[in-house]
């Protein structure tokens, strides 16, 4: 496009592609391919190939190190009847329902507040962003101690004896809270970028018309930030369905409530690397893939209804 614009300036005529030599166009295309090559190669080798290989592996049974026997769809037949898989699916969905909307909402509100002219907003933005750049392992370790029933800081402050991580009813939510906390900063940045694209004059016009802050939010901010909101919602939901490191490090498989907090990816890890059933594990992960695809399709369809571009 730039070359065409330059040509326009120098010759004063509209020179279209036809006027450019074939070799020149080929050179353009080659440059294009060259620049996207690293990403495409990475995508194919590191993403596409493993996905296909995993699907292939899901049709096998592991027997010993590196040895597999083809068993067709038997893994899937076992999967649908496995109570552990069913429970893990329930846990994963419960976790997502608890974490995703809350994380998105809080980060939106925080972003809106940090977009206004309050003092020290740079400091606040940093504080909110620090969890994002902290190592998940470190976060998990610290929160695990905060949640400790006998010696944790939380129980100490509240003077309570709540078994945050040992109570089957709230363990998932306790871990979810950490999940939300670690996501706020990341989503907030995306929202801030979207917010800063909204021209001030809309707000000025609204103020002149007598609209209060809340009305401004719902009538101006929300519609104009809907693309960012859509993106953040889709990625947060996907991320929550795939939660692993937090879960893995804050729970142990000898815990009596382990069944109630085990998510699909954690189950996959145990089946694949601890129990060495890589075939069955692959089937479980394909199940997760299907779930994510279905949910994303639904979200894409709904996109037309509420996202304004």
């Amino acid at each position: 496009m730039r070359e065409e614009a330059l040509e326009l300036k120098s010759t004063g005529k509209a020179s279209v592609g036809k006027k450019k030599g074939m070799s020149s166009r080929l050179k353009d295309n080659l440059w294009g391919y060259f620049f996207i090559a690293p990403t495409i190669i990475g995508l194919v080798v590191l993403n596409l190939y493993p996905v296909l290989k995993t699907m292939h592996l899901s049709l096998m049974r592991s027997s010993g190190i590196g040895r597999y026997k083809f068993i067709g769809l038997e893994n899937y037949a076992t999967l649908v009847r496995d109570p552990e898989v069913l429970q893990a699916t329930k846990n994963t969905i419960l976790y997502t329902v608890a974490v995703a909307p809350v994380a998105v909402l809080i980060s939106l509100v925080v972003a809106v507040l940090l977009n206004s002219n309050i003092k020290l907003k740079g400091v606040y933005r940093t504080i909110y962003f620090i969890p994002v750049v902290s190592a998940p392992a470190a976060i998990a370790m610290v929160w695990k101690w905060l949640y400790n029933t006998r010696f944790g800081l939380l129980n100490h402050i509240f003077g309570s004896e709540i078994d945050w991580l040992s109570n089957p009813r709230i363990a998932l939510l306790s871990i979810g809270a950490v999940g939300v906390w670690s996501l706020i900063g990341y989503n907030m940045i995306i929202f801030l970028a979207g917010l800063q694209e909204i021209p001030d004059m809309y707000y000025e016009a609204a103020r002149i018309d007598g609209a209060g802050k809340v009305t401004q939010f719902f009538k101006i901010t929300l519609p104009l930030i809907s693309p960012s909101l859509f993106f953040v919602t889709v990625t947060t939901v996907m991320g929550s369905l795939k939660v692993f490191d937090l879960m893995f490090m804050m729970t142990t498989d000898t815990s009596p409530i382990f069944n109630r907090v085990q998510t699909l990816v954690v189950l996959f890890y145990r089946q694949a690397f601890v129990m060495n059933q890589k075939g069955y594990a692959s089937a479980i992960v394909v199940l997760l893939l299907v779930i994510i695809i279905l949910i994303t399709i639904v979200q894409m369809r709904l996109q037309k209804k509420w996202v304004h571009y």
């Binding site: 010993g64 190190i65 006998r150 142990t252 498989d253 000898t254 009596p256 690397f273 060495n276």
Partner: protein, 415 residues
């Protein structure tokens, strides 16, 4: 154009640098040795230092991964063809690795160069498969009852210098439990070698049959033993609950003076010495006894990888590790009780703080660690099912029967 040449050269250089060789500039052969115990690492390093003195053209590097990740890592390395030259092997995992044929067959060299009679008989044959040798014994270990002298003093209870009977043990634990202060008599771990498996064997039960074809978990003796063990938590309340032991590990509780007794192994010597609290307040005695005495004994092995690029040098190192000189160093360092019989006294005398003799004494009634090809999978079943039994959600009989059923199904696939 000049930029292209620079970029190209840079890429090639990086690529070449990344393809490391296992020989460094001096032409020395580098061997990698994978282990899982950080408390034993100093002892292993001492052995390596001496070996390197005697063999200046060989260098050995330790790769330490904690137990919880060791087998996962080893599996991944095995599948990827990147196994370390030498690594520790455990009886519970040996059949899996021998089936995968990733360990070097050292039978000929062993027959020619090693005198197996120097090792404890119970461990010389563990690392054999189909009559061929794949590993040499490194150490022998068993468990004892570590106890907190300070808590015994405070409760006015004499130290348990002899093996207590099951009933005596419960009585003593009760005296040492003070729930208001938050101290318990004993941590009834959900663990095999350092937990309930000992009780099972002491009651004449068994975990897996000798021919590895059936599970012993649903025999009345086994179920009775598990019931006694679990009662320590629920009925007698001398042990913290499973949830509590998950949130703070029993070892940490012992280090903090929250629990008066735990079952743990001879391999914990250095851990107990390094921790200031236990150095001052702990000691070890004979494990309690049921209808018979019994402790789960085990012995680690050193094996060479079939994929090693330097099998000759690796064998030299393995030979040193299995020699008298090597084992004297191992014993003296306190790392573990050498399987080499004449070096065991070194270990007993390596430290006078604790009554280490109980371990070597208990070796005489040590029983083998339960294992089979599919152990990885049925051991997970044990954790899942027994965690509900320990927390009182599931009855002992029901849990044991379910576990036996699952184990039998897996054992049937081992043909």
């Amino acid at each position: 154009m000049k930029n292209w040449k620079v970029l190209f050269t840079l890429l090639i250089t990086l690529f070449l640098a990344a393809c490391g060789e296992s020989k460094d500039e001096g032409g020395r052969v580098k061997l990698s040795y994978m282990i899982w115990d950080k408390y034993q690492q100093p002892g292993m390093q001492e052995m390596i230092d001496r070996f390197e003195e005697l063999n200046p053209d060989i260098e050995v590097e330790i790769q330490m991964y904690p137990w919880a990740q060791y087998w996962t890592k080893l599996d991944a390395l095995a599948e990827g063809g990147n196994l370390p030259d030498l690594f520790w092997m455990h009886i519970g995992y040996f059949s899996r690795y021998s089936e995968a044929e990733v360990m070097l067959d050292i039978t000929d060299r062993v027959t020619e160069e090693i005198d197996l009679s120097k090792f404890e008989r119970v461990v010389t044959d563990i690392y054999r498969s189909n009559g061929r040798y794949y590993g040499l014994p490194k150490d022998i270990d068993t468990v004892g009852l570590w106890y907190n002298k300070k808590l015994f003093d405070e409760a006015g209870v004499p130290y348990p210098t002899e093996a207590m009977t099951w009933d005596e043990f419960v009585e003593v634990s009760k005296k040492l439990t003070d729930r208001k202060k938050g101290t318990y008599g004993f941590a009834a771990r959900l663990e095999g070698q350092t937990g309930h498996d000992n009780a099972i064997l002491q009651n004449n039960g068994f975990i897996i049959s000798e021919d590895k074809k059936s599970s012993g978990m649903d025999t009345p003796e086994t179920m009775e033993a598990v019931q006694w063990y679990v009662d320590l938590i629920g009925k007698h309340q001398v042990s913290p609950s499973l949830s509590e032991m998950v949130e703070i590990s029993p070892l940490e509780m012992f280090f903090n003076g929250q629990v008066a007794m735990i079952i743990d192994g001879s391999w914990m010597l250095n851990a107990m010495l390094t921790n200031e609290y236990t150095l001052e307040n702990a000691d070890v005695t004979y494990l309690f006894k049921g209808k018979r005495e019994g402790t789960i004994a085990n012995g680690l092995g050193n094996v060479i990888s079939d994929q090693s690029k330097h099998p000759e040098e690796a064998w030299k190192f393995l030979k040193f590790l299995s020699s008298e000189e090597g084992n004297l160093i191992q014993g003296r360092s306190g790392a573990a009780i050498p399987a080499y019989k004449s070096a065991q006294d070194e270990w007993i005398n390596s430290d006078k703080t604790f009554n280490l003799k109980v371990f070597t004494d208990q070796l005489s009634y040590g029983l083998p660690y339960p294992n089979s090809k599919t152990r990885n999978t049925w051991y997970q079943d044990e954790k899942r099912i027994f965690s509900r039994v320990w927390s009182g959600e599931l009855g002992v009989e029901e849990g044991c029967r379910e576990y036996a059923q699952r184990m039998n199904r897996l054992l049937a696939t081992e043909e």
